[in-house]
Symmetry: C2
Subunit: 250 residues, 2 copies
């Protein structure tokens, strides 16, 4: 079993760093081969630009990206992450929630690694949302928040954490075919005391120990539940369902 | 009237670049003083790290960020954006939708510019969601998508564009007090023909000409509609409302 951890936090003395170390120890204890892309430590290039592509004939950005994929001329750091992903059974994304999504350095990992030809394709009939290059792999988010649990609850002013994570978990991780497990969410992360830290580590270990048997979020497959215009087929949802919940089979 | 445009696209021959130029011309024609932060052209530093802070006594990242704000020792490029924001009446964010949110370079603009002490504060009672440092200013998103309109509609597999933009428009722009106008959304942006381009420019001009009179999205103010745990007060919403829609007064 191989697990790749994509990790983004600037402070190696942080709660996130401690939880990353616990995760690696736990997974290695379970016999996994663990690789870590520690984006800050790697000085990961966050910005997708033409320097990623090598020489191309295309001036337009997405066409040039697709050409670089076809020519296998993408930057070496992108190719290395492709290899890690293709080799992995599980991919874990760990980060602090900054402005209700991932830090820029991790967004840049998705922008650059999930590139045209690998993560998505140039046509609307590209296999996606349940099918794709990473089908058969499991993904899990580990996220810390400064906000308290109430603030991220159904009626919380920030919006529900599941909705805030939808564009990432559904739009990025499920898109190329990964099965997405419910996230590990650590709220009120700033200045956590020892008792809560102990509980948090215990919960994290349990989630990692059950990684291969936990039921994924039941996102609907594009190939099964949507019409040719990629709209949810009539009557699939419980009456009154709206918003992102439409895309989860209950 | 001063308008600051924060713009992120790597290709100066793109649709986005053409729309940016149209926006500047239109706003200048209306008498606005226009400034543009062209993030790719500026080689904007996307990654928030300790180099942004100058010397600090704090090892923990957010504490160090807060100290840098207090000491006025933030990096000059961050301070320059603070000045543009404080001087502006309107702030426009223009970008292509990459993986259902902003490109990393623009996420990094938010991570670095909306820093502790400016964009948010260290306590849960910091004025936010309708109050804050940018209160009285108007924000508007101009976003292009490769996806077609159907894919981003209420039942579209991508999720509704308004929900996808909620973490940005509500969680980032409304948070420090800006009034957020409905976005300008340009779908099926790849390979747009001349007729659609003409219509798109016409629509963009109309939205810019009505910038100061357009009704903002009716996001609920934290100070008015939420309890002390930042949960929406009972009975404020129409019966059956769920998800992000809870936070918009109809």
């Amino acid at each position: 079993m191989r697990t790749h951890i994509v990790y983004a936090h600037p402070d190696n003395g942080s709660l996130n760093a401690a939880l990353r170390d616990e995760a690696v120890l736990t997974l290695e204890g379970l016999g996994h081969t663990v690789t870590v892309a520690d984006l800050y430590a790697m000085n990961w290039k966050a910005v997708a630009d033409y320097d990623d592509f090598g020489p191309t004939d295309s001036e337009r950005f997405i066409a040039a990206a697709g050409e670089a994929w076809t020519n296998a001329s993408l930057a070496p750091d992108i190719k290395a992450e492709h290899e890690h992903l293709l080799a992995a059974d599980n991919v874990i994304f760990q980060f602090p929630l900054w402005w209700y999504t991932v830090p820029a350095i991790l967004k840049g990992w998705f922008d650059r690694v999930f590139t045209s030809g690998f993560g998505y394709g140039p046509t609307h009939d590209w296999p996606r949302f349940g099918d794709g290059v990473l089908k058969g792999k499991r993904a899990m988010v580990i996220v810390t928040t400064g906000a308290a649990e109430d603030h991220l609850s159904e009626r919380g002013v920030n919006g529900h954490i599941d909705d805030l994570l939808f564009p990432l978990q559904h739009g990025v991780l499920f898109y190329p075919g990964m099965a997405v497990l419910p996230p590990v969410v650590v709220t009120s992360a700033l200045g956590m005391d020892a008792a809560r830290y102990t509980d948090t580590v215990k919960h994290l270990r349990e989630r990692l120990e059950t990684l291969t048997e936990t039921e994924p979020i039941a996102y609907r497959k594009q190939s099964e539940d949507y019409d040719e215009h990629r709209r949810l087929l009539p009557g699939r949802e419980a009456p009154g369902t709206t918003g992102f919940a439409l895309h989860i089979a209950r």
